[in-house]
C-alpha cells in the first residue's frame, strides 16, 4: 500500500511502486481525464500536475509521488462548476476528438498558475510536448488565451469583493 494525494484527497493505493501514475489514476482511482497515448512521454495526453508543475503521468512511477500533490483535470472543476480553463475550452469549442485535450488543459493550467499573462509565444513553447492529431491547435491557443482572461477576471472580482468587505 502506498499513499497518494490526488485532487486534495488522500488515497491508499494497492499498486507496485514502479506503476506509472497514469495507471494508478485510471485503474485504481477510476479517473478518466489523464489519457494513455504513448506510454513513452512523447505525446502529452497523460499530462497532470504534480505540485503545480505539468508532469507526464505515463512515465512517472508511483514511488516518486510520496507526499506530493497530484492534480488532474477532474480536480480543477466539474460539469456544473467548471474551472476557467474548462469554461474557456467549451466556449472556444476547442476540441475535435478531444483525446489530447485534457493533457493540453493541464499543461496550460500549470503555465497559467505560474504565469497568468503569457504571450502567444510562451503558450506555444509551453504546449510543445503535447500532440494533437485533429489539428485543433488554433482553437487550443485561443482557449488558453481566453482562460488567462477568465482567470484574471476571476482574480480581479475576488480582489474587489475582498476590498469591499
Amino acid at each position: 500500500m502506498m499513499s497518494l494525494k490526488v485532487n486534495g484527497r488522500d488515497h491508499q493505493v494497492d499498486a507496485d511502486p514502479d506503476t506509472p501514475l497514469l495507471y494508478v489514476l485510471r485503474d485504481e482511482l477510476k479517473l478518466n481525464a489523464a489519457k494513455f497515448g504513448c506510454g513513452l512521454g512523447q505525446c502529452g495526453s497523460c499530462t497532470v500536475m504534480v505540485d503545480g508543475k505539468a508532469v507526464l503521468s505515463c512515465v512517472t512511477p508511483l514511488l516518486l509521488l510520496e507526499g506530493r500533490q497530484v492534480t488532474t483535470l477532474e480536480g480543477l472543476g466539474t460539469l456544473d462548476a467548471p474551472a476557467p480553463i474548462q469554461r474557456a475550452f467549451m466556449e472556444e469549442q476547442a476540441a475535435q476528438c478531444g483525446y489530447c485535450i485534457a493533457g493540453m488543459m493541464m499543461r496550460a493550467q500549470a503555465l497559467l498558475q505560474k504565469n497568468p499573462k503569457p504571450t502567444d509565444e510562451q503558450i506555444r513553447a509551453e504546449l510543445q510536448p503535447n500532440l494533437c492529431r485533429c489539428g485543433t491547435h488554433m482553437r487550443i491557443l485561443r482557449a488558453v488565451h481566453r482562460a488567462a482572461r477568465l482567470m484574471d477576471a476571476a482574480a480581479l472580482s475576488s480582489t474587489t469583493r475582498g476590498s469591499a468587505r
Binding site: 494513455f36 504513448c38 483535470l73 460539469l79 476540441a95 476528438c97 483525446y99 503535447n130
Partner: protein, 742 residues
Amino acid sequence: MNGSVILDRRRVLAGGGALIVSFSLPDAFAQEPQAQTPAPKPPGSLAKTPYLDSWIRVDADGTITVFTGKAEIGQGVRTAIQQIAAEELDVPFASLKLVTADTSRTANEGYTSGSNSMKDSGTAIQNAAAQVRELLIAEAARRLNVETENLKTENGVVIAPDGRRLAYGDLVASEMLHVQAQAKSKLKDPATYKVMGQAVPRVDIPAKVTGGAAYIQDMRLPGMMHARVVRPPSYGAELIECDVAAVEKLPGVVKVIRNGNFLAVVAAKEFQAIKAMGALSAAAKWREKPGLPKQDDLLAVLTSLPSQDSTIFEHNDPSATGQKTIEATYTRPYQSHGSIGPSCAIAQLVDNAMTVWTHTQGVFPDRAGIAEMLRMPAESVRLIHVEGSGCYGHNGADDAAADAALIARELPGAAVRLQWMREQEHGWEPFGPAMVTRLKASLDASGMIAAWNFEVWSNTHSMRPGGAGSMLAAQHMAQPIAVPPPKPIPLPEGGGDRNAIPIYKFPNAQVVHHFIPAMPVRVSAMRALGAYHNVFSIESFMDELAKLAGADPVEFRLKHLDDPRGRDVIEKAAQGFRWQKGQKAPADRGFGFAFARYKNLAAYCAIASEVEVNRETGRPRLVRAIAAVDSGQVVNPDGLINQIEGAILQSMSWTLYEAVTFDDTKITSIDWQTYPILRFDAVPEKIEVHVINRPGLPFLGSGETGQGPAAASIANAIANATGKRLRDLPLTRKRIKDAIDA
C-alpha cells in the same frame, strides 16, 4: 398475427386529416401493387432503411429518441444530426436523445466515412423527422377536428388556432411511426430555421473537458479484465517457440492465449497486463522473413508492380492543339493515421452471445468480420460504437475489436478490455497507401491547356472488414483466414483514382488508373483516400502550367473552370487572402493557391497559403492559410469551420513531415520519435475559414475536402518562395534545402 400495423399514410396525407390505421400484410405483399411502377426511393439512408421508427421514436412521456447508424469520431456528427432532427421535428435541441451506431439498435449505414454522414444519415433524419411531424399533425387534426393546414407545431406540441394543444407524446400511438417513408417530405423553408445553421455547441465537448467518461478507454464494466496482445515483430512472422509458463505465474495474470501466431495475455489490472505483455514478448521467438519493398524508391516499386490499368476518363477535341508541353511525376509515401489514443475495445461473451464495444467506423461490417472469425452467427454478435481517439480512416480500431473478441471467447462471462500499445498502433495499423502520379500537359498558343494526361498508380484504399480476413487476429490465428483480394473502389467516389479526373475543362484529357493488387505494406482507407495525392498532383501541376503560361495561378484556374460553385469558393478564398495578380510575397516567403471539389461530388474547398522558408535550413513554416468552403446547406457553421481548420493542419503535417519508414523486414516508424508530426512550434499564425452557405441545397459532407487543397496550396507556396518545385511528399526541410542548393 404476423402482419404489422401499418398506417396508410397516403390516405392520411390526402384525406384532409382523417387518420386511418389499417392492417397490412408484411412488406413483400404490401409492395406488390407498386411493382409495375417502382416508386421513387426516399432520400439518403431512408432508401435502404425506410421505416420512420428506425430513425425516430416518440414515447408516450414525450421523450424523443433519434437513431443514426453513423458514429461520432470527433467530427461533431452527433451535434449536427441532433440539430437536424430538432429543426424538422420542431422540438428543443436539448430535449432529444441520440443513439449512434449499434448493431442492435440503429440502421445499418455502413461506414462512417467518405464525408458521407450528413449526406446519408443527415438527409435520412431530416426527412424522417419532417414526416414524423406531419404524421403527428395529421393525428392532432383528427383528434381536434381541425384542418392540418391550420395547425402549427412548437417545442414538441401541436397547437390549434383556438389555443388547444396536444403534446407529441400524447399523439403517438404504438405503431404509428412504423410506416415507410415517402419519397418526398414537407421540409421546412430554410429561411425559418431556428436550430440548423446555428453554431450550436458540441454535445460531446463538456464531458471531454471535465474528465467525464467520454471514450471507450474510459468504460469500466463490472469485473473487467485487462488484455494486451503481443504482435509478431513483422508482417508474416511465425511464432516458433513461446514458453508461457513463467508468464502465467506473474502477478495478476489470468490467462495467456496462444492461437497460432496470435498471442495475448489477460490480467486483473492494467499495468499487470502490460508487464506480462513484456514478459510474453521476451519469451516469444519468431521466424521473420524479409519482404518489404525499398522505402526510398517507391516510385520504381509502385510503377513496376503488376497493375490493372483502366482509362477512367477521355475527352478529345482535335481542334485544340498544344504548343508547349511539360511533364512531371509526383509521389506520396505510406502515411500513418497516427491516432493519439491507440486502439481499444472491450468484448464480453455471455450465453454464447458476443458483445463488442468498439470505436470502429462500421459496426455492421465489422460484426460480419468478427462473426466469421469466431464462426458464430451474426445475430449472436453485437457491436456497439463507443467513441475513441480520432481515427481519420481505417486505423487499428477494427483489429482491436477482433483481438478483444478472440480473447474474450477464451474467458466466457468476463468483460475484457484490450488496449493496443503505441508501437502496435504505429506498426500494425493499415497505412494510407503510397502513390505515384505522372502528369503531362500542353498549352496552346493562348496559354490555355489544350491537352491533359494523368496517370495514377495505387493500391486499393479500402481493406476495411466485411470479411474476417481483413483483421489481424483472424490472419494470425492457428486456422488463419486469408486476406481478401483487394478491390478498387468504383467511381464516381473512387479510391486510388478519387479526384483523379480533373474538375477543370480541358479540350483533350485522358486519365488512367493503374490499380496495383499486390500490397507489400498493409494499407487501407486514410482520410480523403487517393484524393489527397491526386489533388496535390493536379493542383501542383496547375501551378506549373500557370507559370509556363505566365499566368496568375488563381486566374489560370478560373479560366479553366465552369462550375459556378467552384468559381465562388476560389474567388472567396482569393478575396479573403487579398490575393492579387502578380503580387510578390515578402522575402523568403511564398504564396500558394489550390482548389478541389472532394470526389468531384462533395464539398468545394479552396485554400490560399503563405509559407516562409528558411533558406539556411530549408525549414518551411505555414504562416497563414485562408480557406473557403461550400458544403451545401450548412448545419453547424462552427463545426464546419472546425473540420476545415483541422484538415488544413493535419494535411500540413502529412505534407511537410510524414512518411512511414521500414527496412526490408519490419516497420521502423513505431512511435512519435520515429514518426514525427506537427507540434506547436509549427502552428501557423492564422487560419481563416470562409463558409459559403447554400440554403436548402443538399448536404455535401466536408470532413475530407480540405486535405488535398491544403497540401497543394502549401507546395505551391514553397515553390513560389524558393523557385523550386518539390514533387515528392513529404516536403521535408532536407528536400527543400537540397532543392535550394541544387
